[in-house]
């Protein structure tokens, strides 16, 4: 039997020629710091050192390691943290942490090479970018990674201890952080899902007997809905649990289906044709998914077209008629265009995963989820269990971005299988599943007409949006245009175009980025036609006080004041500067509560929220530490467990604003209790009075529940829904009643200024620099908020330039179901990003802070498109703005 040396110890290698090193490391040796993500060598999460050289362990046959030395992330800095690990911690070069072990392994190899050749010289951004070009981070922690690697190489972390701004950073840089995919119980089985290979069919019989007959198969269950209809390729049909994945895969291949094919229709264009087959008949409409963060309102629904949802319109007829007249009169100020945005996949690096285990009548499920508490409620309801019998755990979550906020197939299948098998079952989606059936931001076609008045005011706007929602509904894009740039009249109509594609899902500011891509380009065009500075025009039209402060900041930026490029350039490389605005709603979750306790002299804060990389552990630790005058790492934060006091889901940018106020209340109560029980008060003038009191305190605890906000007093600060009149109030009431979400006063805002360079020969767009101004109140965890801000910009760059789901229009297969064809930004695509926080505007919220995650990505894609317009004189109306589209746009201009 052959062996390898791994982290200094000898380990046997399996004889199976198909065994891959990553599986031996993770499953055989339980070294779970090494992650399996793309399975094709492009993301780097599985990188290990083979005789000192970084290699992709997801592609390496295990036998190839025979006689060699393998080092995983666990073996790096085993005795003492490596300078690269400390630098990653200090520079917050991580968010969800799932890609971090791979980056650490590659970066330490680069560090050693660099030191050997260059000593403590500082490597350039280009050198770091090239060295780490085989690694992808979906949170977009690249800014911190650049800084960390440069600082480590420069010797700044040699022999120095660090206290990271992110409280769990140490666990993430060493590979110790356990994600759902890393959970392994004794006797755990592997679950695999059989999925539909056709886009539309009625399955009349699922014969599980052949699967059950295969040795090693312990359970097989049907996952079909009651009507037996599958409506997209990849729809779940059945699931099997077996002793290993290979056996489970063989078992699902043996399942026999009897089915009746049904006519299918795929995509935005075909599904709108009058003779298109209908995806949901009246009786099955409730089976459609939901692409928004809240429940939807009623809307007309005919065939595959659901809409118009036009409640946010205002004098719609007037808007239409004014724009019609302007069109007839050939008003040069009228701008009309159709914009198209592509489908964006969440691309969480940790796939959707669940591990279910029954102990008697109690169920514990580890789930990669954004909502431990809510999910436990959903599970209890679906499986008719008492709430206190269901426990959901998510210690660390490798990204979510909106796709992990509900009860998903991975969880249902794991529970069903665990129940049937009477054994723990793990279900982990493969990359093909992750990039096809776990939801997405729907593509959209947006017809927009914007009419300024002769006096330079915004007179009328019409905006019709058709969203490519697949087997789902409830998109809101056009409606979001109501809450920015007040006009005399607006017609805003949203349509869902349903087809035989997987259902869309909420994705970071659902509807926001596509709406902004259309609206912010229309405003930019208006400024060009009116010959007004685009920022000044926004300041004229936009009444929101948060954004008005950001416009002043943007007007003062050198890159804006000195811009002179313009479309008169003729060379190969052309530069341009663009601006765009964005907003998101300030959302908090009523009922959010937290317990803050002293246990053995140590502060412990507990709430059933979760950290998917946004940094809520740290926000809570900082808030408690700040109140007691101690260090954040001295506070233990317990989250990621539904048994803790009810906490908020991580969606709608709601966590910060939901947890800080109850934390402050609990802290206040706890302080009073500590003082009451104190035998001796600290000496006057003590540096750390609370530290002394805490050390002497008996175990005590206090609870805080999220209170209502106080009434805002600052001018112009009110609920944006109030600006939308009666329908806004109804909408707010519905969100609270049916989705347990409160929409507060004040509007989280972002204004971004972007500089690009366009290579007119190769169609390549390089984003040179981004200035992102963000108003989300007081910043509770500055380094982490900065990571969120830069990561949001990087996701926005992906949305603008690279990312598109492609499908086969005939069969309904998703073709971009791998990370080579679905292209997320890499480190070398990251521009210099300047983050400006304007911390005013939310004084009516206890603590003064609201969430940042969504608003920060809304303006990026239109700002890039506006910069491209500035550079080449052509407006790109379709995302992603690929080389193909750039050369086509330039050809059209030279042909014209």
């Amino acid at each position: 039997m052959s062996t390898m040396t791994i982290n200094g110890k000898s380990a046997a290698l399996p004889e199976d020629r198909d065994a891959l090193l990553v599986d031996v490391i993770r499953d055989g040796l339980d070294l779970t710091g090494t992650k399996l993500v793309c399975g094709s060598g492009v993301c780097g999460a599985c990188t290990v050192l083979l005789d000192g050289v970084p290699v992709a362990s997801c592609l390496l046959p295990a036998q190839a390691a025979a006689g060699k030395s393998v080092t995983t992330v666990e073996g790096i800095g085993e005795a003492n943290l490596h300078p690269v690990q400390k630098a990653f911690m200090a520079h917050d070069a991580l968010q969800c942490g799932f890609c971090t072990p791979g980056f650490i392994v590659e970066a330490t190899a680069f560090f050693e090479r660099w030191r050997a050749a260059n000593g403590i010289a500082v490597p350039s951004r280009e050198e770091i970018g090239a060295a780490l070009s085989g690694h992808l981070c979906r949170c977009g922690a690249y800014e911190g990674i650049f800084n960390a690697v440069a600082a480590a190489c420069a010797g700044q972390f040699d022999g120095r201890d660090v206290q990271p701004p992110r409280v769990e950073a140490g666990a993430k840089v060493t590979g110790a952080a356990k994600y759902t995919v890393d959970i392994r119980h004794d006797g755990q089985l592997e679950g695999v899902i059989l999925r539909s290979n056709v886009a539309h069919a009625e399955i009349t019989n699922v014969d599980l007997a052949p699967a059950r007959a295969i040795p090693g198969v312990i359970a097989a269950v049907s996952l079909l809905g009651d009507d037996g209809v599958v409506r997209f390729v990849g729809a779940p049909v059945a699931a099997v649990a077996a002793r290993d994945r290979k056996t489970a895969l063989a078992a699902i291949a043996s399942i026999r289906l009897t089915s009746q094919p049904m006519p299918a229709v795929v995509g935005l264009d075909d599904a709108r044709k009058p003779d298109a087959p209908v995806v949901f008949d009246k009786s099955s409409r409730k089976k459609a998914g939901n692409v928004s963060e809240g429940a939807g309102g009623p809307a007309p629904w005919k065939g595959n077209l659901r809409g118009p949802s036009a409640a946010f319109s205002q004098k719609a007829k007037k808007a239409r008629s004014w724009i019609g007249s302007a069109r007839d009169a050939q008003d040069p100020l009228l701008f009309e265009a159709t914009f198209r945005t592509a489908t964006q996949q969440h691309t969480c690096l940790e796939p959707h995963a669940a591990v279910a285990r029954f102990e008697g009548d109690r169920l514990t499920v580890h789930v990669s989820t954004q909502a431990v508490f809510h999910l436990a409620e959903l599970i209890a309801k679906r499986f008719a269990m008492a709430h206190d019998k269901v426990r959901v755990i998510a210690d660390h979550v490798g990204g979510g971005f909106g796709s992990k906020a509900s009860l998903g197939t991975e969880t249902i299948a794991a529970i069903e299988l665990a129940r049937a098998a009477k054994a723990p079952v793990r279900v982990v989606f493969d990359r093909h599943e992750e990039l096809s059936v776990t939801g997405y931001r729907p593509a959209a076609e947006m017809q927009i007409a914007l009419l300024p008045s002769p006096e330079g005011a915004l007179k009328a706007l019409t905006f019709n949006a058709y969203a490519d929602t697949g087997a789902a509904t409830n998109s809101t894009l056009a409606g979001l245009a109501r809450l920015i740039y007040p006009a005399e009249a607006k017609e805003l109509s949203d349509f869902d175009v349903i087809s035989n594609l997987p259902p869309g899902a909420p994705f970071r500011g659902p509807g926001g980025p596509p709406m902004a891509f259309a609206l912010e380009q229309a405003v930019d065009e208006a400024a060009l036609r009116m010959k007004v500075d685009p920022i000044s025009l926004r300041k004229r039209w936009d009444t929101n006080p948060n954004r008005r402060r950001l416009y002043d900041w943007a007007l003062g930026l050198d890159v804006w004041r000195n811009r002179k490029n313009g479309p008169a350039q003729t060379g190969r490389y052309r530069r341009g500067v663009g601006v765009a605005s964005g907003y998101w709603l300030y959302i908090w979750q009523p009922g959010s509560s937290i317990e803050v306790a002293v246990k053995g002299g140590r502060l412990v804060a507990s709430t059933s929220t979760q950290d998917i990389g946004q940094g809520s552990r740290t926000v809570i630790a900082n808030t408690v530490a700040d109140a007691f005058g101690i260090e954040p790492h001295e506070v233990e934060v317990r989250i990621g467990d539904s048994r803790l006091p009810e906490g908020p889901g991580a969606g709608g940018s709601r966590v910060t604003a939901s947890v800080i106020p109850p934390t402050l209340i609990a802290v206040q109560k706890l302080k009073a209790a500590i003082e009451r029980s104190a035998k001796r008060m600290p000496a006057p003038g003590s540096n750390a009075p609370w530290r002394e009191l805490l050390a002497a305190s008996p175990d005590l605890s206090a609870n805080g529940v999220r209170p209502e906000d106080s009434k805002p007093t600052a001018p112009g600060v009110r609920s944006p829904l109030r600006d939308a009149g009666f329908i806004g109030i109804i909408f707010g009431w519905m969100m609270r009643r049916f989705s347990n979400l409160a929409i507060g006063a004040g509007v989280p805002s972002s204004v971004q200024v972007v500089e690009v360079e366009v290579d007119t020969w190769l169609g390549h767009v390089r984003v040179l620099g981004v200035h992102t101004g963000i108003a989300v109140g007081r910043i509770a965890a500055p380094a982490l908020a900065r990571s969120q801000a830069t990561g949001s910009v990087i996701q926005g760059i992906g949305y603008a330039l690279y990312e598109a789901r492609e499908t086969d229009a005939k069969s309904g297969h998703v073709l971009t179901s791998n990370m080579e064809d679905y292209r997320i930004p890499g480190i070398a695509d990251t521009p210099e990003i300047d983050v400006h926080f304007d911390e005013a505007g939310f004084d009516h919220v206890m603590g003064g802070s609201v969430g940042i995650g969504e608003v920060a990505t809304v303006p990026t894609s239109p700002a890039i498109a506006n910069a491209i317009r500035d550079a080449i004189g052509v407006r790109l109306t379709e995302t992603p703005i690929t080389p193909a589209r750039i050369v086509a746009a330039l050809n059209a201009r030279s042909a014209a």
Binding site: G39, G41, E106, G134, H764, A809, L815, R823, G826, P883
Partner: protein, 305 residues
């Protein structure tokens, strides 16, 4: 990227496995695997004439980093450095890179039939061929995935197998008319080494791929260009392009338009236009000809400087 050679009755060959492992995981490749363990075939040997012979199992990273290769065959070294990711280049072999299977998203999907998987037609032709060929030379519309093959074509390198010597790249890969295969090796035949010619006096070479991001992306179009410029004129030009056809192509019309002419912007622009000679783009791939034009201008312009 590096499954070497081809299938035998005994199974599918595997070198480093960077292509094959992915296809095994997804189920596109089933059946037995035959590991190619041929010690001694991983080095670079230099002849007295200054020509290199590269063993089939030399890794892409080895080729990219070899100072003598960088000096004598800069186009080969630059291509090696420009493909895949560092953690793949450290494993993938040159032989495997030449014999890897198509990267077409239909071929790689285990649930879709296609010519390369024994099916009767190419679903990409009538379907989504965004990254397909712009020179439609055969029934399959996927471009050949090997960047190294394009570079070696520019160098007029030859390939030795365990059975045959001095195969041209065209003989190794065929002319693109057979949509079922990615190369023209016989069943059970394996690549052993790649023989490069003696570098010409004063030749220079460059490689570049057009992609949307900065790194780690399959080329939309790529070219490797060599030139000797002397006495105020292009004396020798070889341009090979990948990403545009079922096999890498020499851009002979562009080469002819350059050889003997002064290295001016006008000459190069004219040659760049001629790069598309013989092209037959598909409905979704016309943009590749613009990128091809841009790449020829870019690289020949840089060589002329």
């Amino acid at each position: 990227m590096s499954e070497a050679a081809t299938m035998t009755a005994a199974g599918e060959f595997r070198a480093a496995g960077t292509d094959l492992s992915e296809r095994r995981r997804t189920g596109v490749s089933k059946g037995p695997v035959v590991d190619l363990v041929l010690p001694g075939d991983d080095g670079i040997v230099w002849g007295a004439d200054g020509a290199a012979t590269i063993g089939a199992f030399a890794t892409i990273a080895t080729i990219a980093a070899d100072t003598r290769i960088k000096d004598a065959y800069p186009g080969v070294a630059a291509t090696a450095l420009g493909l895949a990711t560092p953690q793949i280049r450290h494993l993938a072999t040159l032989g495997g890179n030449l014999a890897q299977r198509s990267r077409c998203w239909y071929y790689r999907n285990p649930h879709i039939a296609c010519l390369k998987k024994g099916g009767s037609d190419c679903p990409a032709r009538a379907g989504n061929h965004l990254y397909g060929v712009a020179f439609d030379l055969g029934p399959c519309v996927a471009p050949h995935p090997s960047s190294m093959a394009a570079a070696l074509l520019a160098y007029e390198a030859t390939v030795s197998t365990d059975r045959r010597k001095a195969l041209s790249i065209a003989e190794l890969l065929g002319n693109g008319s057979d949509g079922r295969a990615d190369h023209a090796l016989q069943a059970g035949e394996t690549i052993r080494s790649i023989v490069l010619p003696t570098p010409l006096q004063g030749e220079r070479a460059l490689y570049k791929r057009a992609i949307s991001r900065s790194y780690a992306e399959w080329p939309l179009v790529e070219i490797c260009a060599r030139a000797v410029i002397a006495d105020g004129a292009f004396r020798f030009v070889r341009i090979a392009a990948g990403g545009i056809a079922p096999v890498p192509l020499r851009l002979q019309a562009a080469e002819a338009a350059l050889e003997g002419r002064p290295p001016t912007e006008a000459t190069i622009a004219n040659a760049a236009k001629l790069a598309a000679t013989g092209a037959k783009p598909l409905p979704m791939t016309g943009y590749k000809l613009d990128l091809l034009d841009g790449l020829v201008r870019d690289l020949l312009g840089a060589l002329a400087k």
